[in-house]
């Protein structure tokens, strides 16, 4: 993983769960929550858990009062970018609107970064290659940053089977070929039983669902 990883994607594609998983598994220093779109299930809700693991959370909310519904962004979000010894995952809000927040990093194009597009093909707005490419174009246009890779996060939550993951991979391979972007990660929920010989594109990322309680 690059020093700075931005996660973008259609809203509801699983960016926040992925951000938390990537941060914990790669022991980064910061998770930066730039989601000003969603009112619920934001990474700031997991502040305690992340702090225990030595990860600091920088949130777009004032003093992490997580239930504020305001498009407020802390200046602290520049810290990880400016301090080149630190590694961070930036969790953007959904769609091109969410990616708009990248505009403020216009002066930092030279930093070592990845902008990864999280895709779940079971979200109707990204269920085929054309729609995904359209979304990439919109995100690149509005953010001024190039998408550098793809994450296959195709799932139906508790109903997911490995076939669903592979169905997503097929769609993303088409995108990959057309745009010359690699699939960097394939996420697989830890409860899914998989064959040891299974080969997926990129790194297989075992996903723990931190937001999901056992009753939903």
């Amino acid at each position: 993983m690059k020093r700075i990883t931005f996660l973008t994607g259609y809203y509801g594609s699983g960016k926040t769960e992925l951000a938390i998983n990537l941060a914990i598994q790669n022991q980064v220093d910061f998770v930066v929550d730039l989601d000003i779109i969603n009112p619920y299930f934001r990474s700031r809700e997991l502040e305690e858990l992340l702090n225990e693991k030595g990860i600091e959370i920088i949130s777009s909310d004032m003093d992490s009062k997580m239930h504020l519904d305001m498009p407020f962004i802390s200046k602290k979000i520049y810290q990880p970018i400016n301090n080149t010894t630190k590694r961070a995952v930036y969790d953007l809000g959904g769609n091109d609107q969410g990616a708009k927040l990248l505009r403020q990093f216009d002066d930092y194009h030279d930093e070592e970064y990845d902008l990864l597009l999280v895709v779940n093909i079971f979200r109707t707005e990204t269920d085929n290659a054309d729609k995904i490419i359209q979304l990439i174009n919109k995100i690149e246009g509005i953010s001024g940053f190039k998408v550098t890779g793809l994450i296959n996060n195709s799932n139906l939550l508790k109903d997911t089977t490995i076939d669903d993951v592979l169905q997503g991979e097929k769609v993303l391979q088409t995108v990959s070929k057309k745009l010359g972007l690699d699939i960097i990660f394939t996420s697989i929920w830890e409860d899914i039983v998989i064959d040891d010989n299974l080969n997926v594109s990129g790194e297989a990322l075992k996903l723990k669902l931190y937001f999901r309680k056992n009753w939903f």
């Binding site: 619920y40 299930f41 139906l156 939550l157 009753w215």
Partner: protein, 356 residues
Amino acid sequence: MAKVLMKGNEAIALAAIKGGVDAFYGYPITPQNEVPEYLSKHLLANGKVFLQAESEVAAINMVYGAAGAGKRVMTSSSSPGIALKQEGISYIAAAELPCVIVSVMRGGPGLGGIQPSQADYYQATRGGGNGDYQLIVYAPESIQETIDIMKESFDIADYYRNPVMVLVDGLIGQMMESVDFDKPVKERFLPEKDWATNGTMNHPGKRNIANSLQIDPKALEQHNIHLQEKYNTVKKNEVRYELINFDDPEYVIVAYGTMARICRSAIELLEKEGISVGMIRPISLFPYPKEAFAKIPDKAKGILTCELSQGQMLDDVLIANNGKHKVGFFGRSGGMLPDPEEIVEAIKNFNERVVK
């Protein structure tokens, strides 16, 4: 359409489209904003009407007008927004016009907060509007159930010429589940809307009027009696509930919506400890499933009402129970969700709620 992953609010919007909605009028409020967002994109694209009104009051009166013209209409909002709509809702019920109102509850009172709550049970079933009127109220517990009920609600509203409210909390609005939009719903025979104010082409010389003003007290009482007869038919035909783990339970939980989901997990935990607990899950809140309470075994030790409020459905439980069993209460409010373990404790330390 195969299974897809949807957020509750998006699913409400798409289910409305599948249910044949012609027009949506609303005003933004968290945590239901994805409903209008989705509809703004997809209704207009399909040649239907989407209109963001200047206020909730304006929106509900637009619903009144469009429903009067015989169209399938809906609005959606959250707690304080639904409060603002009450006047219009009473007018629509009085004029016997069909529409669907989606209420995605958040913490109250007042502006409250944006986290999930069930503190608008009174608002939905008792009405904040004036007069002897009733909404037909459904409170689904999953996104799939929300979709099925949304699709059917337009038919139910048309059938009874009455507003139907689909009542969920912010969690169901915001969470995601894999769902199927093609599950068939009950088909109903729906008569022509010969009362609609859509011109005199089909009845030359006779104008239809949608109105709630009735200054002759005799006629107004007759209208009220007619409405009560209609509500009684609804009570007879439209009760919905689910009985869970009802094989000789020691205690019975009564819970709906998100709280019912939490209670399901609590029931499993209690089962492991050898305590058998059943659940009545009301799906229709009006009509309230009173008959379900007759199925509680005589020797059951008590009924625990669980709500994300300080105790509102509790009133209906006390009425339905009619003094037969001890009734206790567990509630969280303000947007706080309990863990199943808290319900387990409440059952283990069951206390009768003493009403002073």
